[in-house]
């Protein structure tokens, strides 16, 4: 099972939307104490859609790549559309076969996004 395919490594080494947004309304920080992974998501909502999104993170290749790919995928989406994103979406987005232990790493960025949806109205 080789999960370190080219796209994953590319997003791990050159994460997209990395850093803190200059302008954002909402942010959330989540961590996974088991492996020490940590992510902070920032979002800028305009007209009830995600206009900009970024993240800062410490973690393994899978969690970083997952965050990078997720931020690319959610721009322009409404709250309703974001609510539909689930585990299967992440697995399909990464395109790799993850074992139960590593799935947690892949899901951390989505968990952070879900936390924003729960905490903030837009």
């Amino acid at each position: 099972m080789n999960i370190y395919k080219e796209t994953i490594i590319d997003h791990y080494q050159n994460p997209r939307n990395f850093g803190k947004l200059k302008q954002f309304q909402h942010s959330v920080k989540l961590n996974n104490p088991f492996c020490g992974d940590e992510i902070t998501l920032y979002i800028n909502i305009q007209e009830k859609k995600i206009k900009e999104i970024s993240f800062q993170a410490k973690g393994c290749a899978i969690s970083i790549a997952s965050a990078s790919l997720l931020t690319e995928n959610v721009k322009g989406k409404t709250k309703e559309q974001l609510r539909k994103l689930n585990r299967d979406f992440i697995i399909k987005m990464l395109g790799i076969d993850l074992g139960i232990n590593r799935l947690k790493c892949a899901l951390l960025p989505l968990d952070a996004l879900k936390q924003i949806l729960k905490n903030y109205e837009f």
Partner: protein, 407 residues
């Protein structure tokens, strides 16, 4: 010198996985055929309960069960078999001590002392006991080389009721000079009770509890080639008699009336309910196996592999590799915890796993120690009797692949 080829033949898992590179023995060791066969023998030939039956099968299982107690007792040079209590694992042995001893003897203004290099199982139970009883919980630090900061005069006082510490760190591999430590702390406070967590030591070191001078010592069967589900608590009969039972139920009572119950003498007082009979019976075969190889030979073999591993790691990765723990290999066992570049330990372990190499990644149930080392997690590769130089080479090749994949 150990004949690794011959040893490997005695571990059936290598017949099922011929290319397996198993470097995670501190988590749980592999099991030799001799141990597995003994457990099968119990279930197939006399698999009934102990102590209760008058019929021959129950007598046989009781004799086999109690024989393990004698063999364990001799193995660690206890005074008598009654000093050996069977639990589920070292964790349960330590929890038993917090309940049956700690909660009984600890009074306000007392102190409990432990160290920063403990496994959570010898840290959390005492931390919780301290916070529940309001006593002082002191944690002894390590220095940057991975040795305990031995300033006992500063930390041990007349109020220190309990010192509980590990014999070997499951992350750094450091072998603590437990005998000298006990001598020194008992000089400061003769009434102190010293508990030794020997879970990581028992697979590698010859332990003589009388020579060591401890009051209690605990370990698990599954880390020393034995079955899972069995732990040992060693203690002196006199203190055992003063302690309260841990759990109540079958096998541990003497008489039960509607108003009151009397309990059996130790060790049975602490062994409520049907024990892990087959596993206890098979544990003696693990001890026989270890004694046949010779514990001194085991430690020497680990030292050779660790030395070779340190050399190759430093040669191959230079400044990119950081190895935690003592550099003096005579003061540690075959545990090599490291970080490589900025790579996350889970990524390293995953790529190694794809190459058939089993290592541990994470905080190894020692979060306070990792906080002290200022790292979130480490990779741990460990050597035991079934590992050889080829395993070291495979590890290094695997790590080369890691640097290639993760860049």
């Amino acid at each position: 010198m150990l004949n690794i080829k011959d040893i490997k033949k005695q571990f059936p898992i290598f017949q099922n996985h011929p290319d397996l590179v198993y470097l995670d023995s501190p988590a749980s060791s592999l099991k030799p055929k001799q141990v597995i066969d003994k457990e099968i023998e119990y279930y197939q030939q006399y698999g009934v309960n102990v102590f209760r039956g008058i019929y021959p099968l129950s007598e046989k299982s009781t004799i086999e069960f109690e024989e393990t107690r004698q063999i364990v007792s001799k193995f660690i040079n206890a005074n008598k078999p009654e000093e050996i209590v069977f639990t589920r694992n070292a964790t349960e042995s330590l929890n038993l001590l917090t309940y049956s001893l700690g909660r009984k003897i600890i009074k306000k203004e007392d102190e409990i002392v432990t160290t920063i290099m403990e496994h959570h199982s010898n840290f959390v139970p005492w931390q919780v006991l301290s916070s529940e009883t309001g006593v002082i919980f002191k944690v002894l630090d390590i220095n940057d080389e991975g040795y305990l900061e031995i300033n006992w005069n500063k930390i041990i006082t007349r109020k220190t009721k309990i010192l509980t510490l590990t014999y070997i760190s499951n992350v750094l591999g450091t072998i603590n000079p437990v005998k000298q430590i006990i001598l020194e702390v008992k000089r400061i406070n003769p009434k102190i009770i010293v508990i030794v967590d020997a879970a990581q030591a028992i697979p590698h070191l010859k332990i003589d509890v009388q020579d060591l001078g401890a009051d209690f010592l605990v370990f698990s069967s599954h880390k020393m080639l034995g079955p899972t589900g069995v732990g040992v608590l060693w203690g002196k009969e006199k203190i055992f008699k003063e302690m309260s039972p841990f759990m109540y139920g079958g096998d541990m009572i003497s008489e039960v009336y509607i108003e009151r119950t009397t309990f059996k003498n130790p060790p049975h007082k602490f062994e409520a309910g049907t024990p892990a009979i087959g596993q206890v019976i098979a544990l003696k075969e693990a001890i026989k196996f270890l004694e046949k190889i010779g514990l001194n030979n085991i430690l020497k073999h680990e030292e050779e592999l660790t030395s070779y591993c340190y050399k190759l790691l430093n040669q191959t990765f230079g400044k990119k590799i950081k190895i935690f723990g003592p550099k003096n290999l005579q003061k540690k066992c075959g545990i090599v915890s490291f970080s490589l570049n900025h790579f996350h330990p889970h990524d390293i372990a995953q790529i190694l796993a794809d190459e058939g190499i089993c290592v541990r990644a994470g905080h190894h149930c020692a979060m306070p120690l990792h906080q002290r080392l200022k790292v979130l997690a480490t990779v741990r590769a460990s050597f035991y009797i079934y590992n050889d130089v080829k395993d070291v080479v495979r590890l290094i090749d695997g790590l080369k692949k890691v640097t290639k994949v993760l860049g």
